[in-house]
Amino acid sequence: MADKKKVLVIGGGFSGLTAAVETAEAGSDVVIVEKTAFLGGRVAQLNKYFPKLCPPNCGLEINFKRIKNNADITIYTLAEVESISGQEGNFNVTVKLHPRFVNDKCTACNACNEVCPVEMPNEFNYGLDKTKAAYINHNQTFPFTYVIDGKHCKGKACAKCVEVCKYDAIDLDMKPETVSLNVAAIVLATGWESYDISKLDNLGGGRIKNVITNMQMERLASQNGPTGGKILRPSDGKEPKNIAFVQCAGSRDENHLPYCSYICCMASLKQATYLREQYPDSKVSIFYIDMRTPGRYEQFYWKVKDDPGVTLTKGKVAKITEDTKTGDVELVVEDVLANNRITEKYDMVVLAAGMVPSTKDSKIPGEISYTHEGFVVPAFLKKGMFAVGSLKSPVDVARSVQDATGVAIKTIQSSRR
């Protein structure tokens, strides 16, 4: 039998992790390259999955455990692929490793975080709060090792963290490294970004405090989020009791994203349940062009629709302004079925921002074909390269996992040819 051929997975989100563990458990050596300091990607940021409303951590935790128990999986975090050359069975890949400044001796005791004087916007929470420059993104994260943000850390001039670390785990002298890999097959799993709402000038352009994105809503509702799971509006911490969801914020719009982002209708319906559960006296209004709840998701739509606290109105919100005195948000929409243009005030507005493939702005090195929206065209990928999940088209977690599992078998075949 041939040597165990190596497989590279670019991206440590749910798709990448799935492809990696499935491939590794079939006996391949797998390398995961993750750009950020932690695995889990977007799923780690979610509060609940639709339609079952169970916490994403169950699924993630299982995958993390499978990785921990598998000696054939190597993980590089803070790592970026710099070049890819060669062909199926013999790809040469160089990967740049950015320094973590924290080594394996870290016990995640949080002492460094406590003394760190530097605060920076918390990217994991989409800027809803701040984090220290020595941090972990949440308490069930993986790898469970702190990281020191190279951009914001003051370096050896400060070094307070080094002093307090009892385990000798911090090394501010760490330098970037480059590793070369030889792999037989490559899985592209770099995922998606939330559409930049500053481009939606008529919807407040990201300048109105109480207009948040659907992903920010996930963080607000999460136990490990900025408010410990209590949904409070950003401007003044008030409990929002009257909330509007604006569907197609960027999606299905040739000026922004000329495609349906597939998940946003379900995401808003799901988030309506967060609010209705937390504040039984709250009112939720969802404004849509078309409610798109494909397949059996329709049942979830019926369930939410039957809640008397939820109103669904056909009409695209195309104007949002702020009442600067109260922080309330005013939106204008045509109630299409009533043929009436209405102006309404809300405590908080959630924009159902669309999905943008990460490859829209940061391309993967090598000869890869993209659609003009930035999605990878799988049919034009080189032999031995495979794309998964939201890199090919907007997709939900369940379908990403199915896709990644399917791609795993293709990868195994390819790596053993």
Binding site: R252, H256, A318, I342
Partner: protein
């Protein structure tokens, strides 16, 4: 099913709208972004989303007596924000053209301004007619000596020919407007209102170009329309002064003498307003072309006629001053031909908007729908 609604699509109407510059019509998916970003629509039964649907489905009768297509000033804020490139602003323009067609008679003149193939007739009919009449008067030639246009076409000749044409244009327009008004009353079940107050308020709006000021993406249209509009007003005042001098006071024609006379001042201010305004209108169309498109044949026909009227009139004056008879008289003839066209096609060309938009704005006030 007792409550079933039978939709009777008029496919020819749909094709007509598409042919008239509404080719993007079918792209609309009814999201209603347009109605929200529109700054000139009322909140109750707003436009243009519903019009897009009616037009897609060929519900021609829905447009019967619908003031909304005329309340639209084609700011094109809707088109700029349209997520589908359906260009509601342009589609409504194409629908307006269909309304003009519907309310104006005789049909032959309607066809001439609507069918590209018949375009030469727009100019040939007045040219031949004027040539014949001027020949009959014995003045259709290049006259020796100083350029004096009244040798070519006497003031009385002009009055004799152009007054009836203008009156015809206005009469047809007013008749169309009355039909439209009656339809609006019937369709919207509005049987009473304060007509005088509505008319006054409407004239005030028009004089101040109130609606144009509300446009966002094409705010510059305020300037261009303002210039052309008041250019024509000034030109009309100059003409009225002429009539006053010659016919009422029995004085010498004021068109020939001096430069600082009221006639000259108004005439030249008018000419400059028209020329600058129409050039701005044209350049605005190119400036916004990427998103909005350059406009339809119907738009450009009127723009071209106005441009030629303005430029040929101004040029004829210059040529008269420098006394280049062989060019001056032909240019003046061209000017007359195009002024004739402008008057004759007043109720059929895009210029007919003065009747229908005026009526629609007035009706909106009359019916109490305008809340702002």
């Amino acid at each position: 099913m007792a409550d079933a609604t039978v939709v009777k699509p008029d496919l020819d109407f749909v094709k007509g709208v598409i042919a008239a510059g509404g080719e993007s019509l079918k792209k609309c998916y009814q999201c209603a972004t347009c109605t929200v970003v529109c700054n000139v629509t009322p909140d109750k039964n707003p436009f243009p989303r519903k019009e897009m649907l009616w037009a897609q489905w060929g519900l021609k009768e829905k447009f019967q007596g619908n003031p909304d297509v005329w309340l639209c000033h084609q700011c094109n804020d809707c088109t700029a924000y349209c997520p589908r490139g359906a260009k509601p602003g342009e589609v409504l323009g194409a629908i307006r053209k269909q309304t003009i067609k519907q309310y104006s008679a005789p049909g032959a003149l309607v066809d001439i301004v609507n069918k590209k193939a018949l375009m030469p007739l727009i100019f040939i009919i007045p040219a031949v007619l004027l040539a014949v009449l001027l020949s009959a008067a014995g003045t259709f030639k290049i006259h020796e000596g100083d350029v004096i246009f009244s040798k070519f076409a006497s003031t009385h000749f002009l009055q004799f020919v152009f007054t009836p044409v203008l009156l015809f244009g206005i009469a047809v327009g007013v008749m169309g407007m009355r039909k439209f008004w009656a339809d609006m009353k019937q369709t919207n079940k509005v049987y009473s209102g304060d007509l005088m107050a509505s008319v006054t308020a409407t004239l005030k709006d028009i004089a101040g170009h109130k609606k144009f000021k509300e446009c966002d993406v094409s705010a510059d249209r305020f300037t261009s329309h303002f210039l052309v509009f008041y250019g024509f007003v000034a030109a009309a005042i100059a003409t009225a002064i002429g009539v006053l001098y010659i016919d009422i006071l029995g004085l010498e024609s004021p068109f020939r003498i001096g430069y600082g006379t009221p006639v000259k001042i108004f005439g030249n201010i008018g000419a400059i307003g028209i020329i600058v305004g129409v050039i701005l209108m044209m350049s605005n169309r190119f400036k916004n072309a990427e998103k909005l498109g350059v406009g339809s044949y119907f738009d450009w026909l009127l723009l071209s006629i106005i441009a030629i009227v303005g430029i040929s009139g101004f040029l004829a004056q210059l040529l008269r001053m420098v006394s280049v008879a062989p060019i001056a008289y032909p240019v003046y003839f061209i000017h007359l031909v195009f002024v004739f066209s402008l008057f004759l096609y007043l109720p059929f060309s895009k210029l007919a908007h003065m009747f229908y938009r005026g009526a629609a704005i007035c009706f909106n006030k009359y019916s109490g729908r305008e809340v702002k």
